[in-house]
Symmetry: C2
């Protein structure tokens, strides 16, 4: 009943929503809930049921009208779609406060993201411990990424250092980057960069606050 999925047809805005659906579904599974309707999911997510059905439709027919979706099945399909049916080796580049916060963030590990290294360029930071990892020197980044089959790099260095670090991890073979540095990277076509910009997030809040003041 499920069509083979052509991921290239999934709109960009749908992908983060799938991750959010998955989180809620995990919670339902823990609570022992076997089935859920798009309406119930929508309520839990403060989202729109039609949007949810549309998002799921990219993956074929998941649910039965009036009966809802099987939670376990849906978790399996969404996980596969998001690439969570395999392990991903991750490095963090930049062991400042943000890098340390991310290294300690448990949510990553639960979804199959394995932090294998954390790097910094400061001799005051190299050799210190973050969680269970010793901070390594940025000059060893390319070799480490290559030898440890690292898939994803999280960049938490200052803006002016981000391009240099990105170049290194890409040279080592990384194909996916989560960039927290407030600067746009220009990667080669076969490298995917997701930009997380913290001031953008605050501006979304101020947009809505000022809208209310209109």
């Amino acid at each position: 009943m499920v069509n083979p999925l052509d991921k290239s047809k999934v709109p960009q805005a749908t992908v983060p929503r799938l991750a959010r659906y998955l989180r809620v579904l995990h919670r339902l599974e823990r609570d022992g809930v076997p089935k859920v309707s798009s309406k119930e999911l929508a309520e839990k997510l403060d989202a729109n049921a039609a949007q949810i059905r549309k998002d799921f439709s990219y993956f074929g027919e998941f649910g039965v009208r009036g009966v809802g979706y099987e939670v376990k099945f849906l978790i399996g399909e969404l996980s596969k779609c998001l690439g969570l049916n395999q392990d991903w080796n991750v490095v963090i580049c930049g062991a400042g406060k943000l890098g340390q916060a991310l290294a300690r963030y448990r949510g990553f590990r639960e979804e199959g993201f394995k932090l294998v290294g954390i790097f910094d360029s400061s001799r005051y930071v190299i050799g210190t411990e973050v969680d269970d990892l010793v901070v390594l020197a940025e000059r060893d980044l390319i070799a480490f990424v290559r030898e440890n089959n690292v898939h994803i790099a999280i960049i938490t260095v200052p803006a002016e250092a981000a391009a240099g670090v990105a170049q290194k991890v890409i040279e080592g073979g990384v194909k996916g980057i989560l960039n927290f540095a407030p600067v746009r990277l220009s990667p080669p076509e076969d490298v995917f960069v997701r930009q997380v910009d913290l001031s953008t997030e605050l501006m979304v809040v101020s947009f809505y606050l000022s809208q209310r003041g209109q």
Copy 2:
């Protein structure tokens, strides 16, 4: 020529893009560039020129076909739209690594977000200094928010503490929340919550990596 803007008509997905356009425009202004076309903007943003023109169209006619947009004018309009023509008082709730990283993040201040307080519930953290601010006790949060006209709260406490903290800042009068805790809040209708979920961001990366592997 510019229509009065009804912000409620601006689609949700457009808002973060406006913030990104603004950042690039600021850079162009610093470089002394007076005009820019949607095509040039698209190249700098690795985005689609038609999308940019569509996003701008919500604000009326900004540009002249074939001539492009005036950078300074566009910065003014986008800033107004995003609510950046006023100052916003911000508190950070949770002085752990992530809270400290955000407190030190310069990007916030540049856009008129003024960090006025940082709070924690641990007696080992209360009284320590983060940047120029002394960490205050969470039990004083409601009164502080009320007395200091705080508009926005950034929540960086663990998931299980987030709902309690949100309730306090809302009781104190906060109408906008940026929530980093991996849990969905259920605020009253007049409070806007923007959820930043770090594992969601990583899943967006793994989605695209696994797509390539198909």
